[in-house]
C-alpha cells in the first residue's frame, strides 16, 4: 500500500504526486496542511524526523526526499508499463544531471522569492510568541533560519542574487527546450517532472521572465505537461495549498 504525504500539486510535493499519476499506481494521497504546520507535528515527525514533505509510505517503509521518491517508484515497480526513467544509461545520467540541478540550484532561487512573497506576510501575521512556538517545532536549524529570514524580509542583495539565478535557470531551460522536446532527450522523464514542479506557474508568478515572447519553448513545455491526462487528473483531484491553475481544478 502506498500513501503519499504532501502539500499537494506544487513545488517538491508535485514531483512524486505527478509520477504516481503518470504511472497509474494506486495510492492514498494524504494532504499535509502547511498553513496549520502539520508537517511539524509530532505524528508527522515520527514518519520523517526532518519534518519535511513529501514522504512516501510503502507498506510501512518511509521514503523521503522528493527526487529519491521518484526514482524509488521506478525501482520498486519495475513491471509498471509507464517508465519515467530512460532505458539507456547515458540518458539516465542526463536525466539525473537535470534532477540534481533542480534540487541544487533552480528550486532554491525560486523558493526564496516564493518565501519572500508568501511565507513572509504569513509569518509576520503571528505574534512573536506564536511565531516562536512554531519555530520550536521545526527540527532543521536551516529551516528555522529561513523562516526567520522570511519574517524579517530577505535582504535586497539576497533577493537580487536569487532573481539573477532565476534568470540563469529560465535561460537554461529555454535553451534546452529549443533543441529538445523533453529535457533529457526524446522521452518524457523525471527530468521533466522534477523541473516542471518548480517551473509550473512561473508564467504567472514570474511573467516578466517566462512568457510566450521571451521563452516560447519553456511555455510550450509547461503547457504540454499541464495538458497530459496525468497532470489534469492530479490537479483536478488533489487538495493544494496553491491557487488552482485553472477553474476545473478547483473542485
Amino acid at each position: 500500500m502506498l500513501t503519499l504525504y504532501s502539500f499537494g500539486p506544487a513545488a517538491n510535493s508535485l514531483k512524486p504526486l505527478l509520477a504516481l499519476y503518470e504511472k497509474g499506481l494506486d495510492f492514498t494521497p494524504r494532504f499535509v496542511d502547511p498553513t496549520r504546520f502539520e508537517h511539524h507535528e509530532d505524528w508527522f515527525k515520527q514518519l520523517n524526523p526532518r519534518g519535511q514533505v513529501p514522504a512516501l509510505d510503502h507498506d510501512g517503509h518511509i521514503i523521503t526526499e522528493s527526487t529519491v521518491i521518484c526514482e524509488y517508484l521506478e525501482d520498486a515497480f519495475p513491471d509498471c508499463a509507464i517508465k519515467l526513467r530512460p532505458a539507456d544509461p547515458i540518458r539516465i545520467a542526463e536525466m539525473r544531471v537535470w534532477t540534481k540541478w533542480v534540487d541544487e540550484y533552480f528550486c532554491w532561487c525560486v523558493s526564496t522569492i516564493g518565501w519572500e512573497r508568501m511565507i513572509g506576510p504569513m509569518a509576520r501575521a503571528y505574534s512573536d510568541a506564536e511565531f516562536e512556538e512554531k519555530m520550536a517545532r521545526i527540527p532543521i536549524p536551516e529551516q528555522q533560519a529561513k523562516w526567520r529570514a522570511a519574517r524579517a524580509g530577505f535582504p535586497k542583495a539576497t533577493l537580487d542574487e536569487e532573481m539573477r539565478k532565476i534568470g540563469v535557470s529560465v535561460a537554461k531551460l529555454e535553451a534546452r527546450l529549443a533543441e529538445s522536446e523533453w529535457l533529457a532527450g526524446p522521452d518524457y522523464t523525471l527530468a521533466d517532472i522534477c523541473n516542471f514542479a518548480i517551473a509550473n506557474r512561473m508564467q504567472h508568478g514570474f511573467a516578466e521572465l517566462v512568457n510566450t515572447a521571451a521563452t516560447p519553448h519553456l511555455v510550450a513545455w509547461i503547457d504540454r505537461i499541464n495538458a497530459r491526462p496525468a497532470a489534469q487528473a492530479m490537479f483536478a483531484q488533489s487538495k493544494s495549498e496553491m491557487p488552482a491553475p485553472r477553474p476545473a481544478a478547483a473542485a
Copy 2:
C-alpha cells in the same frame, strides 16, 4: 573505453575514482592539474562546458557530476560482479538520501573551509592581473564568486556557520555509523564512497572534531575504507593534488 578526468583521489574526484577501482573496471586516469587551472582550459571545457571535474568519457560520451557518474557505472556495467548499489529498492533510496545529503550539505561546508585554508593563500599569491585572467576563464559565475571570496578571505560569520554545519555533519555520520557498519545498511555502497570522499582525512584537517575519542565509529569507518584493496590501489597509483595519505602513496 573509459577515461576519467579528475583531480585525483580527494573530494568529488575521489567518488568515481574509487568506484572504478572497486568495480575493477579498466580505465585511463587523466589527471587534470588544478594548480595549473587545467579544468578551465578550452580543451577541457569542450568536454565539460561547466569546467568541472570529474568527468567520465565512455566511448566518446561525456558523463559529468561525480554522483551521477557513480550511478552511471552501476547502470552501464550491469554484469560487473561488484555492485555498489543495493538490490533492494528501499536500500537504494536510503543510499540516495546519503549521496544527496553529501552533495547538498556535507560537501559544501567542508569545501568552504578547505577553500579558506588552501585556495585563499593560492589566490592571494597572484597579482590582480593574473587573478583576473584566470577568473575570465571560469564559466560558472558562482565559481568565480567563490574564488573571489576565498581570495578576500571568507567572512567570519560564513566560516562560523560552515564550522557549525561540519559539526552537525560529523555528529550525523557518527550516530549512523554507531548503529550500522555502512551508511545505507549492511552493504558497502555508493553512500559510503561518496561520503568518504569528503570525510577522509578530516581526522587530520578537523582533528578537533574527528578523532578516536569523539567519533570512534566515524574514524573506524574511514580506516576501514582506507584499508580496502581498492582504496589502497587507488591511492598508490593516482596522482593527486592533495598530500599523500601515507608514504607508499607518494610514488
